[in-house]
Amino acid sequence: MNWSIMQQALPVFVHAFGLTIWLSLIGIIGSIIVGIIASLTQYFKVPVLSQVMTAYVELARNTPLLIQLFFLYYAFPVIGIKMSAEVCGIIGLIFLGGAYMAEGFTGGFNGISTSQINSGKALGMSRFQLARYVVFPQGFALSMPALTANIIFLIKETSIFSVIAIPELTNTALDLTGMYYRSNEYLLMLVIAYAIILIPVILLLTWLERRVRYGAFGN
C-alpha cells in the first residue's frame, strides 16, 4: 500500500463520491415515484394502463441494467435520440428501479390480511376508501423491507454506470488503475467509499423500518 498515492487520488475520489450520491438520490426518488404510479395503476386495475405497467415491470425487472444502459446510450442515437451518459444512466436506473419499487409496493398491498379488508368492507367503505384508509397505510408499512432492499440495490447499481463512462466511483477507480498501473490502493479506496455511503444508509433504513413497522403494527 502506498499512502501518498491514495492521498493524491483523494480529491478525485471525493468528486466521484459526490456524483455517486447525487445519481443515486435522483435514481431512488425517481424509482419511488414510478413505482408508486405503477403499483397504484395495477392495484386499481386501470384498464390498459395496468397491463402496460405490468409489461413494463416484468420487462425491466428481468433484464440487466447494463444492457438497458447500452441500449439507451448506443442504440437510441441510431433512431435519433441522443442523450448524455448521465441522462442515460439516470433514465436506466429509474427504468429498472421503478419496476423493483412497484413490485415491492404491490407485495405490500397484497400482504394485507383478508380479514382486515373484510372489516373495512363491513364498515361500508368503497373500493377507494378501502385503499386509502386500510390498504395503503398498512401496505406501505409492509413494503418497507422491500423499499430498504431496493434503495441499497439501486445505490450499488450506480457502479454499472462505469461502463458508459460516467465518472462515478467505480469508473474513477478504474481510470486511475489504468493510468497508473496500481490497483490495490484505488480498489481499497473504492470499497471504503461504498462502505461510507452504504453503512449509514443500511443502519438508517433498518431503524426506520422498525419504526414504521411498530407504528403500523405494534411489533
Partner: protein
C-alpha cells in the same frame, strides 16, 4: 305487526363445485335476535358473511326492508352502512388509535360531522368501560378490550342490524362474559336487531328470540329460542345440544 327488516329466499351458495348453502329461507323482524347454531362447518358463518356481501351467492334473493338487494359491490357498499358486522378476530386497524378506529367509517364513509360522531363515540366507549383508552393503539389492549372497540366501531355507524360472527371465540373465558353482557344490553335496552353466530349455548339460550339450526348448509330447524332449547324438533338438534353440554 312489526316490520320485516331482512328476508332471505331460496339462497344457494357454492364454493367451486361444492354447495355450502342449500335453499336458505328465513326472515327477521325489527328488534329480533336471530341465533345461528350448528356444528362447525355447517355454514353458519358463511351465511352471516353472505348477509354482509362478503360472499357472493349463486341464486336466491335477499330483501332489506322488503326491497330486493341487487348483489353488486356498489349496492353492498351502501347496505353495509346499515348492516354492521363484528368478527371473531376483532380486526381493528392496527395503525389507528381506538378513537380513530371508531371515527373512521362514520366520518369518512358516512360523511357525518366529526365532532358530533366523536361525542357519540366517546359515550359508547364509556358504556363499554374504555373511556381511558381513546388514544391507545389496538396493540395496547387485551382481546376483550379489542372486541369491545370492534363492537363500538360497528355501532358508531348506527346500523339497523348487527351481525356478530363468533365474537367471543378468540377470547379468554373470563373475558367472554363481559362481551356477552354488552350484546344482551344492546338487545334488551336498545332493541337492536341482531344475527348471532355463537358456540356459547347459555348465551344463545338467553338472547335468542329465534334459532336457525344448520347442518351441512341446510336449515334443519327454524324455531323460537325458548322452544328450541327446551324441545328441539329434530334428533340432530337434540344430539347437538346434548354434545354442547351447556
Amino acid at each position: 305487526m312489526t316490520e320485516e327488516i331482512l328476508k332471505v329466499e331460496h339462497l344457494n351458495k357454492f364454493y367451486d363445485e361444492r354447495q355450502v348453502l342449500h335453499n336458505i329461507n328465513f326472515s327477521l323482524k325489527k328488534g329480533e335476535v336471530l341465533t345461528l347454531l350448528g356444528p362447525s362447518g355447517s355454514g353458519k358463518s358463511t351465511l352471516l358473511r353472505t348477509l354482509n356481501g362478503l360472499e357472493d351467492y349463486k341464486n336466491g334473493s335477499i330483501y332489506f326492508h322488503e326491497k330486493k338487494i341487487d348483489p353488486s359491490p356498489k349496492e353492498w357498499q351502501i347496505l353495509r352502512q346499515k348492516i354492521g358486522m363484528v368478527f371473531q378476530s376483532y380486526d381493528l386497524f392496527p395503525n389507528l388509535t381506538v378513537i380513530e378506529n371508531v371515527l373512521l367509517a362514520p366520518v369518512k364513509v358516512q360523511k357525518r360531522d366529526e365532532n358530533e360522531v366523536k361525542e357519540e363515540a366517546i359515550k359508547l366507549l364509556k358504556q363499554v368501560g374504555l373511556e381511558q383508552y381513546l388514544n391507545a393503539y389496538p396493540r395496547e389492549l387485551s382481546g376483550g378490550q379489542k372486541q369491545r372497540v370492534a363492537i363500538v366501531r360497528a355501532l358508531a355507524m348506527k346500523p339497523e342490524i348487527m351481525l356478530l360472527d363468533e365474537i367471543t371465540a378468540s377470547l379468554d373465558p373470563e373475558m367472554v362474559r363481559g362481551i356477552e353482557e354488552i350484546v344482551e344490553l344492546l338487545s334488551k335496552r336498545d332493541h337492536m336487531t341482531m344475527i348471532i353466530v355463537t358456540h356459547q349455548m347459555n348465551f344463545a339460550s338467553r338472547i335468542a328470540d329465534e334459532v336457525l339450526f344448520l347442518e351441512d348448509g341446510h336449515i334443519l330447524e327454524d324455531t323460537p329460542g325458548k322452544e328450541f332449547f327446551n324441545h328441539p324438533q329434530t334428533q340432530r338438534a337434540k344430539d347437538f345440544l346434548d354434545s354442547m353440554d351447556y
